[in-house]
């Protein structure tokens, strides 16, 4: 870890969360966090869960975990106390690291955190050799555990190094994706430290804030984010000249047709795309944006099409403790992404998901988790959750909605408030439905199955 990520000239700028941080300062911050973690009892082979907003403090605490030879579990800071409690119960980390400071304000690109590690009474040391454990929204309620080894993270960094269009030493990156998730963590933060490409996280994640972060430095600049960020920038009404901007690279969900052209019209540089997964990191790229919707697999990535699903060679399952042949079997990861592989060129085209996972601004949400959570509430008899126009909508049958479909306005309002309050306790904000619609009964097909067509459900609304 020290050799791959922290090494380098003491006065070399490496990170900018507001103020610039050089390598000597980062090494000192990591040493301080390592001392705190050690005092909390963390040792080689131990486990620490980080529940921290994207920040310099988070970066130092994560690197300190790895410096100590411990396994780091990343918990998105937006998860509710209920979700964190379930994750802690399941993963049993020995140390939980939270911040004494409050979370970031809504439009801030990063937070000011002061990580405080606390030893947990029932924590267990790492059962596997994985360096990184992440959680993904699960299809049956509990989150899916995804783990990666240090060797696999280094393999991914090597893939980035082999991509000529990916930022190199002498250039810089403006990162818009969260450093807690794979794109921002490996493609952004770790690659910047490894390739010695200084990384800036804008103070404000608005159009003006992002443009100001790009304009703040003359070095050739690559912007990394999710498609929503490219939408924001393509919609800028009067952006300043940005001669340093080389390209923007987005990943995390499919790009809307027309967005690459709109972005290039505005800035005169390409909008590149990458396809990747938490389990493997980057899988295929089209960094010049001229192959869209195709992408070329990165070095060593063996992608095949099997019955319309993309399968990828992976020697060991990334799901510790889970035996599920529909996710990994015989050395192949079943991505659950529908796609094609061109037999002549090997290029990959991703067509969408084959399960109930959707992406909200690059954050993965399994609709089944939302539906199960709603259906388990005492106020709710039945629930159907759909994804339409880029947002989650929930249709609920409740006792209060009554057989006449009204139940009284006050009654429906009270129930809606009660359901929203319960959801706010159980689900992170990005997983909650944009809209709750209460119906006396949910529409069903002739064979009695719940209808999941948004148009039919919307038509059934009072």
């Amino acid at each position: 870890m020290d050799r791959c990520l922290l090494a380098g000239p003491a006065d070399q700028e490496c990170l900018r969360f507001g103020a610039p941080v050089d390598r000597a300062a980062l090494r000192a911050l990591v040493a301080e966090q390592a001392a705190r973690l050690t005092a909390a009892g963390l040792r080689r082979g131990g486990t620490a869960a980080l529940r921290l907003a994207p920040s310099l403090g988070y970066t130092a605490a994560l690197l300190a975990c790895w410096q100590l030879g411990a396994q780091a579990v990343l918990l998105d800071h937006r998860l509710t106390d209920h979700e964190v409690a379930r994750a802690v119960e399941r993963l049993a980390p020995e140390v939980l690291v939270e911040s004494a400071h409050g979370p970031a304000a809504a439009m801030r690109g990063f937070a000011e955190t002061d990580p405080v590690p606390v030893a947990l009474p029932n924590g267990r040391p790492a059962a596997t050799g994985h360096a990184l454990v992440q959680l993904s929204s699960g299809s049956t309620g509990p989150a899916k555990v995804i783990a990666r080894t240090a060797a696999d993270l280094l393999r991914e960094l090597d893939c980035y190094a082999r991509l000529a269009e990916f930022p190199k030493a002498g250039e810089r990156v403006v990162l818009l994706s969260s450093v807690v998730h794979v794109l921002g963590l490996v493609g952004g933060l770790l690659n910047s430290l490894h390739a010695r490409v200084p990384l800036t996280v804008p103070e404000r994640m608005t159009t003006a804030g992002i443009l100001a972060a790009i304009a703040a430095d003359d070095r050739p600049t690559t912007v990394i984010g999710v498609p929503f960020h490219a939408e924001l920038l393509a919609g800028a009404s009067d952006p300043p000249p940005l001669p340093q901007l080389r390209r923007m690279i987005v990943a995390g969900e499919l790009v809307r047709p027309g967005l690459p052209a709109a972005f290039t019209d505005r800035y005169g540089v390409p909008l590149g795309t990458m396809y990747g997964m938490t389990e493997l990191g980057v899988i295929a790229t089209d960094l010049d944006g001229d192959l869209h919707p195709e992408a070329v697999p990165v070095h060593g990535m063996d992608v095949r099409e099997d019955g319309g699903e993309l399968h990828i060679a992976m020697p060991a399952s990334p799901y510790p403790g889970l035996t599920d042949a529909t996710r990994w079997s015989d050395g192949r990861l079943h991505t659950r992404d529908a796609g094609r592989v061109d037999p002549a060129t090997g290029r990959v085209t991703v067509l969408g998901r084959r399960d109930s996972q959707v992406s909200i601004g690059g954050l993965k949400v399994d609709l089944n988790e939302v539906e199960h959570t709603l259906a388990a509430l005492p106020e709710v008899r039945e629930a159907v959750v759909v994804f339409a126009d880029g947002a989650i909508e929930a249709y609920l049958a409740t006792e209060c909605a009554g057989t006449d479909g009204t139940g009284g306005t006050d009654g429906v309002t009270r129930q809606a408030d009660a359901v929203r309050a319960a959801l706010a306790r159980e689900l992170a904000a990005f997983k909650r439905p944009r809209q709750l619609t209460f119906l006396p009964a949910l529409p069903r097909t002739a064979t009695g199955k719940l209808v999941r067509d948004a148009a039919v459900l919307r038509a059934a609304a009072p």
Binding site: M107, F228, G235, D389, A429, Q435
Partner: protein
């Protein structure tokens, strides 16, 4: 000049290049982020919403109220801390 409902709907319609009648009354977090970014560009105001304020905006009307309050509390060229 205070933002009205029509201006807010017009800003939201630009997200994904929709027509105004395709803008839903309920707002998702991405739509709200887009709206704040658009609003800042148009009005030259930085809108420093807390997570709680951001999470409390559920509808177009909620958003209109928050943006109007921000304009009223902003000093010229300054930061609006509503």
């Amino acid at each position: 000049m205070l933002p009205g409902r029509a201006e807010v709907v017009a800003m939201l319609a630009a997200f994904g290049q929709r027509s105004a009648d395709r803008v839903p009354e309920s707002l998702g977090s991405l739509e709200l982020t887009w709206l704040v970014a658009e609003f800042e560009q148009r009005h030259g105001i930085e809108l420093d919403l807390s997570d709680e304020q951001f999470g409390a905006v559920r509808t177009v009307d909620d958003a209109v109220a928050v943006l109007r309050e921000a304009v009223l509390s902003a000093s010229p060229g300054g930061v609006a801390r509503s």
